[in-house]
């Protein structure tokens, strides 16, 4: 497609893709490089990086392998990012499409609900949901998705509102096409591109949300997570700063790569010069 071609020319997309590939490689190779449970006690606590060849990035305050946690943590973050994004986008598209296409009272009702979700700060709502539903990793993926659907919904709704009045949609109505066909086959393919681009923003944010939860000690303690590592590193900040610094850098690289890809997608899909003859 033309989009993929312009994507390949965008420097931000290329850098982003390269970085993301790195993180994916980390996640994929975790089991092979570190066959033992990353949360098992491996050695003496607080060994500095590069000091012991067995622990290339050192150990944390309890004696667990930092490098192993970083590599396995990649799996956690990427998985949570992916699942929560899918949940958020699907809910968002359904709500936005219905509100944008049918309008009137359906739109008003759905918009009120969307506003309600947007009014409560997402992170605080997330805290509430964690208290009620627990912080098992699977549950977290769903709840993070549930607090993130409002922006995709608004985006989809805006697209549907515009496209619904486009003449090619009116032409389809004039041909006698039933509504469900118009929504799925005519409008949706044209409405999706900006929402897909926004998915990168949602994913980046999901990863940040999960790591923030982990930092506060509210994520799943049975899973290796970057945020958990930073929480641990906080306690030993003065003496062993690497425990907190390294996972933060990795989070930064991951979120950066996803944002860069999203930016590249955005540039690829938008028309540039507007000329007048």
């Amino acid at each position: 497609m033309a989009v993929l071609k312009s994507l390949a020319r965008s420097p931000s997309a290329i850098i982003g893709a390269a970085l993301l590939l790195l993180i994916l490689a980390m996640a994929a190779s975790a089991g092979w490089l570190f066959p033992n449970d990353p949360l098992s006690l491996a050695g003496r606590p607080l060994q500095a990086p590069f000091a012991n060849p067995r622990f290339p990035l050192g150990t944390d305050s309890v004696g667990r392998n930092v490098a192993a946690q970083l590599f396995y943590g990649a799996r956690t973050s990427l998985l949570i990012g992916l699942i929560s994004t899918i949940v958020a986008i699907v809910i968002g598209i359904v709500v936005g499409a219905l509100a944008g296409f049918y309008g009137r009272w359906i739109d008003t009702a759905l918009m009120r609900v969307t506003e309600a979700f947007q009014t409560v700060p997402s992170f605080i709502l997330l805290l509430l949901l964690v208290v009620i539903f627990g912080s098992h990793i699977g549950t977290l993926a769903l709840t993070i998705g549930v607090v993130s659907w409002t922006a995709p919904a608004r985006l989809t709704r805006a697209e549907f509102l515009t496209l619904r009045n486009r003449e090619f949609v009116q032409a389809c109505r004039g041909l006698g096409m039933p509504n469900w066909r118009i929504i799925f086959f005519e409008i949706l393919p044209n409405a999706l591109p900006p929402v897909i681009v926004y998915a990168s923003v949602v994913m980046a944010f999901s990863i940040l949300l999960e790591s923030a939860l982990a930092f506060l000690g509210l994520s799943d303690p049975n899973v290796a997570s970057w945020g958990n590592l930073i929480a641990d590193g906080r306690r030993v900040l003065r003496t062993a700063a690497y425990v907190a610094t390294l996972p933060g850098l990795v989070i930064l690289i991951t979120v950066l790569s996803i944002s860069l890809i999203g930016q590249g997608l955005n540039d690829a899909m938008n028309p540039r010069l507007r000329r007048k003859d």
Partner: protein
């Protein structure tokens, strides 16, 4: 006039929103394992079901769903947000105690992020696609991708631990006994790192939005008209483009309010500030559902209030906005 009508309209529209939130919270309350009485019983170390029933009737937690909903809504209307078992005080009292610190933090962070973001974004737009723009855009993206708690820790590491320029936490120096101006200054110094930490992501967002908005506005027709009149580029930028470019910025301001409250939870935890955010964190750890619900309610009110002000400011700037029937 127009703005007054708009204000009343916005207030009217926010009521159903609040109602939906309350209904949602009530629903979640039903889904929670155990209720306040269970927590109380746990504290007392008793398992007497008869006593539990009596207590439930007393606290309005007995009866059918409808009764409980009615009781719940009535309480909220009377601003009775329940009792916090952990703090042994009414929820509302505790919340109001912690609110000022959070407000101070948020307002400082928002102001800095908006002002600095606008200036830097303008700079980037003026030198679009040249090296200042590329540098600024790259930095903005990096700041946007950085987790705030990590930056906070790094800030503490560099400025408090290594350089010892700034305090590493708390809102005031508890050992000294400041008052008046010295108290204000002490508070300000303690707030520098937290404000910067919270503001960083939003600074990045405003830089990017200002830049994008300015670039968009500069392609519009009335810019060409302004140039055709003989205006200098600087005047075109400031007098014609900027005001129009501000519109999406102001809209975003309202939307960011909620995000910032969420960010405050993390920042207050990192810097051990006695604010609403850290209260939420503690409430989660202590499973104090009442407190958490009260915080959710208060945050929603805050967001609605901020959005209300933002809408009025927007209407002031844009004469095209009318109150729609």
């Amino acid at each position: 006039m127009r703005i007054l009508r708009l204000a009343l309209y916005r207030l009217a529209v926010s009521l159903p929103c609040m109602l939906i939130i309350l209904l949602g919270l009530f629903l979640l309350l039903q889904l929670a394992p155990g209720d306040a009485v269970d927590a109380l019983m746990g504290q007392m170390g008793s398992s007497d079901t008869a006593l539990a029933e009596t207590l439930r009737q007393q606290y309005g937690l007995g009866g059918g769903v409808a009764t409980r909903l009615a009781v719940y809504l009535l309480n909220v209307l009377r601003l009775d947000l329940g009792f916090s078992v952990a703090y042994n005080q009414p929820v509302l009292t505790v919340i109001l105690q912690r609110l000022p610190v959070t407000l101070l933090l948020m307002i400082s962070a928002l102001s800095f992020a908006f002002a600095a973001g606008m200036v830097v974004g303008l700079l980037a737009a003026r030198r679009v696609n040249r090296w200042p723009d590329t540098l600024i855009s790259m930095l903005a993206l990096i700041f946007y991708a950085t987790p705030s708690f990590w930056i906070g820790l790094m800030g503490i590491l560099v400025f408090a631990v290594k350089l010892n320029w700034l305090p590493s936490g708390g809102i005031n120096d508890l050992s000294a006994d400041y008052s008046g101006v010295r108290l204000v200054l002490d508070t300000a110094v303690h707030l520098i790192l937290p404000t910067m930490t919270l503001a960083l992501i939003y600074f990045a967002i405003y830089v990017r939005i200002t830049r994008a908005s300015m670039l968009e506005v500069m392609t519009l027709d009335f810019i060409r008209t302004a140039r055709a009149k003989g205006l200098k580029e600087g005047a075109v930028l400031v007098r014609h483009a900027l005001r129009n470019a501000l519109l999406p910025m102001v809209t975003i301001l309202g939307l960011q309010a909620g995000g910032m409250l969420g960010g405050a939870v993390v920042v207050e935890s990192v810097f051990t500030l006695p604010g609403l955010g850290r209260l939420a964190h503690e409430a989660v750890i202590q499973r104090d559902l009442n407190m958490l619900l009260g915080i959710v309610f208060m945050s929603s009110l805050l967001v609605i209030a901020i959005n209300f002000i933002v809408d009025l400011v927007y209407a002031r700037i844009d004469p095209r906005i009318e109150a729609n029937g």
